[in-house]
Amino acid sequence: MNILLETKEVSKYFGDFQALDAVSIQVPKHSIFGLLGPNGAGKTTLIRIINQITMPDTGSVLLDGEALQPHHVQYIGYLPEERGLYKSMKVGEQALYLAQLKGLSYSEAKKRLKYWFDKLEIGHWWDKKVEELSKGMAQKIQFVVTVLHQPKLLIFDEPFSGFDPINANLIKDEILQLRDEGATVIFSTHRMESVEELCDHIALIHESKKILDGKLNDIKRSYKTNSFEVGLLSENKDTLQQTIESKFKTSPADFKSLHDDLKLNISLGSEGTSNDLLGFLTSQAQVLHFKELIPNASDIFIQTIQNNKS
């Protein structure tokens, strides 16, 4: 696997408080990497270390195989959770200033800004002061400034907070497009729906430690319980339920259907395949609904953290 960013055993103390405890992650190239964890787990500290805002006490960070150096900041675009703009500065001037700080020349920055402002249809904001913009409008500017210098690595910390659903979708599409064009994205959040939609890889940080990481699909597979959700149509539901319960572990299921059918979650445990189950069920009743139960990111998140507590 081709790795763009790697942290090795990164630890960080703030006084007596340990913010990170030997955290190692590997972010593959051209992927969207979800950095997950509850509030206060250490996500932002790790991101700040990657951005060289704070230094790790021990451990190292490699970008493209090289130890982090000051000039690497121009390969990284960072949209922090606590974000804002100079209120009394004009939008255009400000975007130019921030782009130049990332190493772009004045003319190059201007050219690219024009492209992005046209693309997002915000060109007429150029001479407005930031204090005249709404919060959502300001966030669009921040997004543009973050991606403008075409960084190899994009880091978004809670990017969708404060966006209305339309703009959130717009930004989501832009992120996916940037990934397709070759960028690598680290995406920190505790909102699981967006993880499900966007992330290829995830790492879960809890109480300063990394407790889980890998490809989202692999993780889901390892968390699956070989359980199925079924809907069966039968004249005599009670007898049918007793028959099934005598052979398998079951629990009541809840999903929408047009019929008054028997809804069950059936767990096969380590033995048996879906075909075996299906064969048995078709011999007993008419099968209307059959679906494998896949844990979603939210379930995994909660389950892993609870397992770690005990």
Binding site: F14, G15, R48, N51, Q52, I53, T54, P70, H71, V73, Q74, I76, Y78, L79, P80, E82, R83, G84, L85, Y86, K87, S88, M89, Y97, L98, Q100, L101, K102, G103, Q142, V145
Partner: protein, 434 residues
């Protein structure tokens, strides 16, 4: 990557484009000059009031000392008794009635009275007293048979000519001039630190409250941002100061041409005028010009620039650190006192000690202590400070400055990312170790 010029430019532009900054830059000279015109006008009104005084002199030989001037009219009463005189002066709306009862010169002084509607002004009463005192003692001398002309002739005027062992002539005027230079330099630094230090602090707080700080420091080192801020704000300050001086000069000239008021009547200028008006002291004026040429001008200018810059940077880095440590301006109070205190101490030492004894122990010691040295040393230098003292003081100042920048950068680095709580000194100490 060196972004310092870019940051300086932004900070500078942000300051000078700010509406209230522009307004203050152009209004302040008008306000100051308008105020001084107003005060001048008020005091001229005050002088214009004409007081009319009734004098009832029963002795008959004191009253001749009261001669009517532009502002005080003396009406001499005679052949009336005290009650009539009181009624008369009250009817005529006079300022008051002075009564000298008929008594021997030796005892009359205790019985002189001033009657008035309202209590008279202190300065007026003392001027009356001194006039009567002079007259009475003259009368007494005469009665003892002393010739007054002889006394007048015996009055001597002493003006000690000063000269150093090397034969360099100096004068009191020279000392005043030195004092003037020193005080202007010291006060200028003081004002500059307070005004623009605060401006730096506010701009750091603004970056925190607008939440842009984390975006910026993902591109530049915090220390670069801090230095850029300090330098950019200082340049804006220098711009503002220059405009004030130029504009102030122009307005002052225009105003004095229109209103005919001497606006900048400093004690030194008054002395110059007096000296010029007195034809006998043209020599003295020449001496004063020599004196000016003999001021360590080169030393003064270089020392001014160095001590001004270092002193200003020392304090402004502390202001930046305070800005980084807090969330809003109201929380700055607890940290401001330790910064302001040494500044006030420096001005206090400068005004009360350097003037008395520019090379005394206290002045010398405070011109070495880094937080007071810029102000105190600037005040001392016109009186001639050995070069080694200036150099040692400067070295101490620069090393302290480097320490405070390091210290401020530490606080800054941690503080700018801390939101929502008011830090204590204990926490600041902890931040140094992060």
């Amino acid at each position: 990557m060196n972004h310092l010029p870019l940051i300086i430019k932004r900070e500078y532009m942000a300051k000078v484009k700010n509406k209230s900054f522009i307004l203050m830059t152009f209004l302040t000279p008008f306000i100051i000059i308008g105020l001084s015109l107003f005060i001048g006008y008020l005091s001229s009104i005050n002088n214009d009031t004409v007081r009319s005084i009734y004098v009832l002199d029963d002795t008959g030989f004191v009253s001749e000392t009261f001669k009517t001037t532009d502002y005080t009219i003396y009406n001499h009463l005679s052949e009336v008794d005290l009650e009539t005189a009181k009624i008369l002066s009250n009817q005529e709306n006079a300022y008051g009635l002075l009564h000298i009862p008929k008594m021997p010169i030796e005892t009359v002084s205790d019985f002189i009275k001033f009657y008035s509607e309202e209590s008279p002004s202190l300065s007026f009463i003392s001027s009356l007293e001194s006039k009567i005192e002079t007259k009475l003692s003259e009368l007494k001398l005469q009665s003892e048979g002393v010739d007054l002309a002889l006394i007048d002739a015996s009055k001597m005027d002493v003006d000690i000519n000063q000269e150093s062992y090397e034969g360099v002539k100096t004068s009191k005027v020279g000392s005043l001039m030195k004092l003037g230079f020193g005080s202007i330099a010291g006060y200028l630094l003081f004002i500059f630190i307070i005004v623009y230090g605060n401006m730096i602090m506010r701009s750091v707080i603004e970056e925190k409250t607008s939440r842009i700080i984390e975006v910026i420091i993902s591109s530049v080192k915090p220390i670069q941002l801090m230095l850029g801020k300090i330098i950019g704000t200082s340049l804006a300050g220098i711009t503002q100061f220059t405009i004030w001086i130029v504009l102030g000069g122009v307005i002052a000239l225009a105003a004095s041409a229109i209103f005919g008021v001497e606006l900048s009547q400093t004690p030194q200028q008054e002395l110059v005028n007096q000296t010029l008006q007195n034809p006998e002291s043209v020599d003295k004026f020449q001496l004063m010009i020599n004196e000016f040429h003999m001021l360590p001008l080169g030393n003064l200018v270089i020392a001014f620039i160095l001590f001004f810059i270092c002193g200003y940077l020392l304090y402004s880095s502390l202001y930046a650190a305070i800005g980084a440590a807090v969330d809003n301006e109201t929380d700055t109070q607890q940290f401001m006192l330790p910064v302001i205190l040494p500044l006030i101490l420096a001005i206090y030492v400068g005004v009360f000690t350097v003037i008395e004894d520019p090379h005394g122990t206290i002045s010398t010691v405070f011109s070495f202590i880094p937080f007071t040295s810029p102000v105190v040393m600037l005040m001392r230098i016109p009186f001639g400070v050995p070069l080694w003292q200036q150099l040692v003081s400067l070295v101490i100042l620069i090393s302290t400055f480097m320490f405070t920048v390091w210290f401020a950068a530490k606080i800054y680095r941690v503080g700018i990312l801390m939101y929502g709580k008011k830090p204590t000194y204990k926490e600041l100490y902890k931040w140094l170790k992060y």
